[in-house]
C-alpha cells in the first residue's frame, strides 16, 4: 500500500468502562436516532453517531431494532 491507511473506530466511552458493552451499543443507537429527530433526517452531523453504533452493534441487532422502530415497538427512549 503506497498511502497510509488511517484506521478509525468507535472510541472507548468512559461511561461504559467495563467489559459489558451492550449498553454502549444501545446508547449509541439511541443517540443517533435522537440526533436525527433533533437535527432532521438530511443533516450530516449525525453521521458520527451512526458510525459508532455500526462499529459496535452486530448487524442482526441493528436490523431487529430498525424493524422495531418501524413497528413502533422499539423499547428505548428515542
Amino acid at each position: 500500500m503506497a498511502d497510509e491507511i488511517e484506521l478509525k473506530t468507535a472510541p472507548a466511552d468512559f461511561r461504559f468502562p467495563t467489559t459489558n458493552q451492550t449498553r454502549h451499543c444501545f446508547t449509541r443507537y439511541i443517540e443517533f436516532h435522537r440526533c436525527l429527530a433533533a437535527k432532521g433526517e438530511e443533516s450530516n452531523e449525525c453521521e458520527r453517531f451512526a458510525k459508532f453504533y455500526r462499529s459496535l452493534c452486530p448487524g442482526e441487532w441493528i436490523e431487529k431494532w430498525n424493524e422495531q422502530r418501524e413497528n413502533g415497538t422499539f423499547p428505548g427512549p428515542l
Binding site: L7, K8, T9, A10, P11, A12, F14, P17, T19, N20, Q21, T22, H24, C25, K51, R54, S55, L56, C57, P58, G59, E60, I62, E63, N66
Partner: protein, 238 residues
C-alpha cells in the same frame, strides 16, 4: 557447479496446540506475555514450597519409622512452632498475590484510541465476523462465516481440527477492539497465543482489547460447552 544451500535454523513460534505440549503457546500480545511471566514467577515459589514440604514429610517418615523408632512420642502441642507455621504460610501468599493483582488490573485498562473494531458472533458451531467500521449505511460491509475445515478437505500441512475456511485477518501492532456476542447459546472465544479468553453470551456484548505484536497465524478453540460440535468450533486469526 555444486551449490551449497545453507539451511538457517529459524525458530517457528508455537501458536497452535502441539501434541504432548506442557507449556503455554508462545505469546503474541503483551497480555499473554504477562500471564506467562506471572506463571513462571509463581511456579518458582511453588517449587520451593513443594520441596520444603516434601523434605519435612520424607524426614518424618524416615526418622520415625516404626522399626527405627518403636515408641512414639507423645507430643501434644508446641506453641512456638504452631505460631510460626501459621504466620509464615499466610505471609507467603500475600507476597505471591502482588504480581497477579498488578496484571489483573493492567489487563482491565481501557485503551482509549482503538484502531479497529471487529465483531465476533458465535453460532453453533461456527463463527461470524463483522468488520463494520467503514459502513456507510446499515447494510453490513464485511461479514463472513468461519467454519472448521472437515478432515476430508484438509490440504497437506494443515492442522487437523484447527483450520477454518475464512480466517479473521487483523492488523499487527494495532490496538484491536474485539466485541463478542452469541446468536444462540454460550460459547467462548479463545485465542491462546493472544491471551484471550472471553465468554460469549447471547444478548450481551463483551469487549476484548488486545494488540498483537507479531505477524502469524493464531489458533483458538471454543471454550464453553455449546452442544454437539463444541469440540470442533474454531477461531483462528491471521
Amino acid at each position: 557447479m555444486i551449490v551449497r544451500e545453507w539451511l538457517f535454523l529459524t525458530m517457528a513460534a508455537c501458536d497452535a496446540a502441539e501434541p504432548w505440549q506442557l507449556g503455554f503457546q508462545d505469546a503474541a500480545t503483551p497480555m499473554m506475555q504477562g500471564i506467562i511471566d506471572l506463571q513462571h514467577n509463581i511456579f518458582f515459589f511453588l517449587i520451593l514450597i513443594l520441596l520444603f514440604v516434601l523434605q519435612i514429610l520424607v524426614r518424618a517418615l524416615w526418622h520415625f519409622h516404626y522399626q527405627k523408632n518403636p515408641v512414639p512420642q507423645r507430643i501434644v502441642h508446641g506453641t512456638t512452632i504452631e505460631i510460626l507455621r501459621t504466620i509464615f504460610p499466610s505471609i507467603i501468599p500475600m507476597f505471591i498475590a502482588i504480581p497477579p493483582f498488578a496484571l489483573l488490573y493492567s489487563m482491565d485498562e481501557v485503551v482509549v484510541d482503538q484502531a479497529i473494531t471487529i465483531k465476533a458472533i458465535g453460532h453453533k458451531w461456527y463463527r461470524t465476523y463483522e468488520y463494520s467500521d467503514y459502513n456507510s449505511s446499515d447494510e453490513q460491509s464485511l461479514t463472513f462465516d468461519s467454519y472448521t475445515i472437515p478432515e476430508d478437505d484438509l490440504e497437506l500441512g494443515q492442522s487437523r481440527l484447527l483450520e477454518v475456511d475464512n480466517r479473521v485477518v487483523v492488523p499487527a501492532k494495532t490496538h484491536l477492539h474485539i466485541i463478542v456476542t452469541s446468536a444462540d447459546v454460550l460459547h467462548s472465544w479463545v485465542v491462546h497465543s493472544s491471551g484471550v479468553k472471553c465468554d460469549v453470551v447471547p444478548g450481551r456484548l463483551n469487549q476484548i482489547s488486545i494488540s498483537v505484536q507479531r505477524e502469524g497465524v493464531y489458533y483458538g478453540q471454543c471454550s464453553e460447552i455449546c452442544g454437539m460440535n463444541h469440540a470442533f468450533t474454531r477461531a483462528p486469526e491471521t
